[in-house]
Amino acid sequence: MSMHPALGIGQSGLLAQQLNLANTANDLANVNTTAYKSSKATFQDLPYQVLRQPGALVDGDARLPSGLVLGTGVRLASLEKDFTAGDRKQTDNPLNVMIDGPGFFQIQNTDGTLSYTRDGSFSLDSVGDIVTADGLLLMPNIVVPNNTEKIMISPLGVVSVILPGSSTAQQLGTIELATFVNQGGLEPIGNNRYLQTDASGQPALNNPGTDCGVLVQGALESSNVNVVQSLVSMIEEQRAYEANAKVLEHVDQSLQFAIQVLG
């Protein structure tokens, strides 16, 4: 046992509430981030210590009617992303694509591995590849000829272009979408991108339109952060933080008293 068991418990509470507050601050900071998904903190109580077993013998035939089962604090177990859809924001940029459904775009990272995003604010790079705002390739790779007059992306993901002097559309390829059994298990890596993990499961690749949703050209998905809700949770988190700080204050007071009286 440390100096006082409640010290560690109060500290665990402070730490958990501090992280919770940081998470809410991050949600609020991303209220305008395209396709940002808010997170919800999940708390767990730490394992209990059985200091006195219920029914243990205490003296002669006396038995404790109930034991002493002491909790050891709390921890922030996970920040669960809430993947409910954000509002639709019309942009009329032909390379802005919103997913209406649960799917993700596949993006090739600089090291060749894949990541996943719902941020469809694409543009073209110098050779005509469709890339994200960070310049990463959309997979499967689609190259748009540099003299293209018009780009069309159908709800089912077919990318076609109209070239000068032609009145018919020419198909370039199809954008595929990935879905996951447990999308809450995806690992957010920043820049609106996620990595697959053991918890998320393998991506299921499909053309848009089946179960992964359809594409909407000329629109973006806005952040799903609810400002009012976040501000209310912030008040709650602050009070919880203060209550834990108060615990530490009381414990400090009694330790100080002990040292004064016994010292």
Partner: protein, 248 residues
């Protein structure tokens, strides 16, 4: 005679007050933990009589049980968040594989398709084994705990019944808290399925800790600790002055 026995009695009271503070600190730390049930703290007199006057009554802190009143219901509109509007518990599989009971209903699906709660414990079905879902687009849990899904490869939006959650309603006086945070029956038996427990979805139950009550209890036990220490200091003063008188 050695040092006055009063010093040991007093310091036991102070030490036990410390443990009580730890219980209240734990309740406060968990006032945002879903499904957490406040733990009661109590003191018991432990008389130790031998020759002489019956003055040695030690105190012991113990945890007589938990407050099973309902906590706040947090609306989330997430189909995987469920709560019990009345009495009862969900059955989950604890760390050691033994069935335990909890009111925590913020569910998730893990990589094996198992339905787990926010503590990571798999939810059990009426037969006592973990609930496993096929890859699905949509999960719905009915009032009596039936789990319906729309499979990912389904061509229509019809929901199919895949399993039913085990719901129990044991006498809360017979429950004890285990070290993996779950409740179990004191005699180690498994609670039978109960059909009088209702489930609602779209919200989960939070902790039932009242922070103000706990802070008050905390102040109370801080003062008790101080009183115990005060007695120790009085005994010390007595011993000092008698040593002075006797010229030791």
């Amino acid at each position: 005679m050695s040092i006055d026995k009063a010093i040991y009695v007093a310091i036991s009271g102070a030490a036990e007050a410390q443990r009580e503070q730890a219980i209240h600190a734990n309740n406060i730390a968990n006032n945002n933990t879903a499904g957490f049930r406040k733990e009661y703290a109590s003191q018991k007199a432990l008389p130790v009589y031998n020759s002489g006057l019956p003055t040695r009554v030690y105190s012991a802190t113990y945890t007589p049980g938990n407050d099973f009143s309902q906590g706040n219901i947090i609306e989330t509109n997430n189909n995987l968040h469920i709560y019990l509007p009345g009495d009862g518990f969900f059955a989950v599989q604890g760390n050691n594989g033994v069935e335990g009971y909890t009111r925590r209903g913020d569910l998730q699906i893990d990589q094996y398709g198992q339905l787990i709660n926010g503590n990571g414990y798999p939810m059990l079905n009426a037969g006592g084994s973990a609930v496993v879902l096929p890859p699905s687009k949509n999960v719905n849990i009915s009032v009596n705990g039936e789990v319906f899904v729309t499979p990912l490869n389904a061509t229509n939006d019809n929901m199919v019944l895949v399993d039913q959650l085990k719901l129990v309603n044991p006498d809360v006086k017979l429950l004890k808290q285990s070290n993996d945070t779950l409740f179990r029956l004191q005699d180690g038996t498994i609670a039978p399925n109960a059909d009088n427990v209702g489930v609602r979805s779209g919200a989960y139950e939070s902790s039932n800790v009242n922070t103000v009550d706990e802070l008050m209890a905390m102040i109370n036990s801080v003062r008790r600790l101080e009183m115990g220490l005060k007695v120790v200091s009085a005994v010390k003063d007595n011993a000092q002055s008698s040593s002075g008188l006797l010229g030791i």
